[in-house]
């Protein structure tokens, strides 16, 4: 049974379809959704619901935004029949009535032990009423008393939605902590940030004005002016690294020095460690070779640090999830927030569970750089790997214990009406990679549970059917954390 990889959209953790060999005598391509228009040369799919093929002898035709060209002169392809529907949530076979049963849905309760956390900022314990403003987000005092993120006066506003409270970070403001010091552990570390980007209108691109969500800065390179690492939009542009800088429209979220057991400054990230001889202009090329052959190149470009893998992230707009049995076919039900006055509808509300972790490993013995440890840095967005990289670092590198941390909406604050909401922010460490993976999973499950009201847009168990109607959860309208697809 062949497996086909579909797209590169990070739509879910595993984008694949498994198709039987049975009844298939001709090579079948899988139509890629959310991709540029396809031609029939690679998209004669009998899976797509509305893909059409051109008639014989036609030159081109346009269907559903796609430009279709014939496979060859004289070949006519006709679709026969129509697609079947996916399975309904329930089938009534009642012994005593002809009604649907009432079915409710929620997320299973989960929790984790916070003893390994260094800090934890959360909003589930907000006591203030909606609309209250503050300038400080304090960490759980049981973990590290006194650590707090602070910004301008009234930069945080208590927001309530579906019975859950969280903060809006005013779009022109930021919250930060300067020069907080702690002993960086040598064991694997992880951090989670849960936040939402929103807009009053339907917005398909949230990143152009929100590309510096999570910023860390430290000064391990004495005397070197470093630019901070921005965690939401940064890309390794080819060619001259210094002209690249943070770029828009990429949603990368990682490489926090907070996550590394040995601090890597932006300068080092871009140029390699100060002991590494690197040719800046060919950095990207060498990276690709390193990736291709899984070995470092000889010569002056030896031992280059790899650039990150970049994967675009999809906006999962919770506004598209119907929350009403009376209008189960609604395609855009606003996300309703309250900040002390009247309800505020938001047509875009995209919730992100950002998971960042890093760990050290020894290089393979046959690699030339076996004098170096490898720092693995991974970021996952909503359960999908969005970014991963491996960095060579010397075991005895100097690192800084003084970190500057900053959370803000981006490098173009206040523009375009993008709003940002904060839910959870935590950082912890585990004794080894295996236990870290278990810890991360538990934490993610717990964060999902803690934010279930926002995910489901319901303060109670979400009603999915009543006696006569079924609330649909179609695939493209669901947050991937729900992992449930039926109509």
């Amino acid at each position: 049974m062949p497996e086909y990889k579909i797209g590169n959209i990070n739509y879910l953790s595993e984008d694949k379809a498994v198709i039987s060999d049975e009844n298939i005598t001709t090579a079948i391509d899988i139509y890629k959704i959310d991709q540029p228009p396809q031609s029939t040369n690679n998209s004669t799919s009998n899976q797509a619901a509305s893909t059409k093929v051109p008639q014989a002898n036609s030159t081109t035709t346009s269907e559903n935004g796609q430009t279709l060209t014939p496979l060859s002169q004289g070949i006519k392809i006709e679709t026969i029949g129509s697609d079947g529907d996916s399975g309904k949530l329930t089938i009534k076979t009642s012994l005593t009535s002809n009604n649907l049963p009432n079915i409710y849905f929620n997320i299973r309760e989960n929790s984790f032990d916070s003893k390994n956390l260094y800090f934890r900022f959360k909003t589930s314990d907000i006591a203030s009423s909606a609309g209250t403003q503050t300038d400080t987000w304090s960490s759980d005092t049981n973990l590290l008393s006194g650590l707090s993120l602070t910004g301008d006066t009234n930069c945080l506003k208590v927001t309530q939605a579906y019975g859950q409270k969280f903060y809006e970070l005013i779009s022109t403001k930021s919250i930060s902590k300067s020069n907080f010091s702690f002993s960086l552990p040598q064991t694997p570390t992880y951090a989670f940030l849960v936040y939402a980007l929103a807009h009053a209108n339907v917005k398909t691109n949230l990143y152009s004005s929100s590309n510096q969500i999570h910023k860390f800065q430290a000064y391990s390179d004495i005397g070197v002016t470093v630019t901070p690492i921005y965690n939401n939009s940064y890309t390794a542009a080819s060619g001259n690294k210094f002209s690249g800088g943070p770029e828009q429209n990429y949603s990368v979220f990682s490489l926090s020095p907070l996550l590394s057991s040995q601090f890597i400054s932006p300068y080092q990230q871009v140029n390699g460690l100060n002991t590494v001889n690197i040719n800046n202009s060919t950095f990207a090329n060498n990276f690709s070779q390193w990736k291709q052959y899984n070995t470092v190149q000889s010569g002056t470009n030896n031992r280059t640090n790899s650039a990150p893998d970049f994967t675009s992230n999809k906006i999962f707009n919770l506004c598209n999830t119907p929350n009403s049995l009376s209008s189960p076919t609604a395609t855009n039900t606003p996300f309703i927030i309250n900040q002390g006055g009247s309800d505020i509808p938001l047509s875009t509300f995209s919730l992100f569970f950002i998971e960042m972790y890093s760990y050290l490993e020894l290089p393979a013995f046959n690699q030339q750089s076996n004098d170096y440890n490898i720092l693995n840095v991974v970021t996952k967005v909503n359960g999908s790997t969005s970014y991963s990289t491996r960095i060579f670092i010397k075991p005895d590198i100097n690192f800084s214990n003084n970190i500057n941390c900053n959370i803000s909406i981006g490098n173009n604050p206040g523009s375009d009406g993008i709003r940002m909401f904060l839910f959870d922010y935590l950082y912890g460490t585990s004794r080894d990679v295996s236990s870290m993976n278990q810890d991360r999973n538990l934490i993610l499950e717990s964060l999902g549970y803690n934010n279930r009201k926002v995910l489901l847009k319901s303060s109670t168990d979400l009603q999915m059917t009543n006696a006569t109607s079924s609330l649909r959860f179609p695939a493209y309208l669901s947050h991937p954390f729900l992992n449930m697809y039926f109509s």
Binding site: I6, L12, A17, V18, E22, N23, I24, T26, I28, I30, T44, N46, Q47, A49, A56, Q73, G74, I75, K76, I77, E78, T79, I80, G81, S82, D83, G84, D85, S86, G87, K88, L89, T90, K92, T93, S94, L95, T96, S97, N98, L100, P101, I103, Y104, F105, N106, I107, R108, T331, N441, E445, G448, D461, R472, A475, N483, M484, Y485, F486, S487
Partner: protein
Amino acid sequence: MSTYLTGVSLSQVPTGFGGYTGVVIQNSGNFPVQYTINISSTTFDASVTPTKAADGLLYDTIFISDSLDYLDPNQKQITKVINCNESGSFYILHSPFRTFNLSSDRSEGAEYAAITINSQSNIGDSDSDLIINVTGNRITGFPIPKKLGEFYAVKDYSNIDALSTTKSPSLTFYWSCINNLDYFTGFKLELSTNSSFTSPTTDYLYVKENSDGGFPLYGGYDGFNNETYSLKKTNLSFNQDYYARIQAVNVTGGTGEYAYATGYNYDYPILDDTTFSGNHPSPGENLKITPTILYLNYLSNAETDFDLFDYVYQQNGNSADFRKYSGINVKFSPTDNSIGNATYKASSTSKGVINFIPRDNIQMAFNTGDGGIFRLELEFENIGLYGYGGQGVDVKNITNYSEATNGGPIFKFDDVKYNDTSDSSNTRTIQYYIYKDLDSIFYAGIGGGKGLLLTDETNKGFPIPINGTKIETINYINLKNP
């Protein structure tokens, strides 16, 4: 022997009950001493004479004993050896004369006995005898009983099973007498469906009379201390408010102060001080009996067409009578967590991955909790649920083909409604609650795809039919959505 007490007047004791006092002998000398304690026969004042006694018989009513629990009425002597600087004790027991010839002969009065204590040192010397003149006071009135304590109720679901003729819950009440000199002959327990105790159901429980002539008619010489009583109230209703209170009752029907009940869900509870002392304030605790949730854990790495009804049926002792439950909670998780998600599938589009369809030939009954519903809660941890895919279009030619079929469901649930014959005014309904963790995956069966027909217009060859795909497992990408 120094004498501190040569006469004792016992407390007033109603006829039919008993009383006692203890006597301590302290040996302050330098050698062990043997004490010989003798008691005389009982004498009476003029209130008791042979003519006033049944069959003209008088008998002893004041005794000596080493124990409050055992008495030999014929024992006239107790011998004790007490070491120097140690002490010993015995009891003086009094059970007033009660066998009068006529009811009109019944009277109050005094009853007398003399106790002589002889002491003999082990080196031979002896002291003069100590004589204690004992006066027992017989009364004809019956004091108001005192408040009872340790009053609690245990909620009992044990009779509620399919094999029992009793399909309703019970409350078993327990209480104790916690005061000395408390003279009662029974208890009055009131059970009310409201906290005001208007129109309660009332039960009387009477204290059993002693058959041992050496003992009082009711209780022991120390009254009813440490006696625990119980009464079971059956055929009660679920989800009904219940309050209970109890009084002790004396011979003439007089009742004492109320004690109010505390409720427990289990036997042998550890009582708090308030309950122990009978001081739970009015109206006491609501003893409402709520049906419980049946908790089940189902471990499996793979299932096909999982029959949830059959599973809970078996777990309930091959019974579909769930009337002692207001819900069922089933946690699904893999047997082996290292495999990642367990895989649950359906074998056809007519089957659900999880099926709850009661059988025609099995009567299903259940109780309801708050909101009048039976909750069937399904919790999924690391479970993948995959509906069965529909058949693609089967193409013969341009006009001859079979349409694609729809995919199968994940959940196939019956809309179960049930009229309880004992509660016909209410239709009981099952509601389904589905809880998943983030790792669990719910994929409906995908609908079958379109077919294709390829025709070579140039060579006019035979058309090539391509059937629509049959999806054996899941392709969420092509779910047909609004």
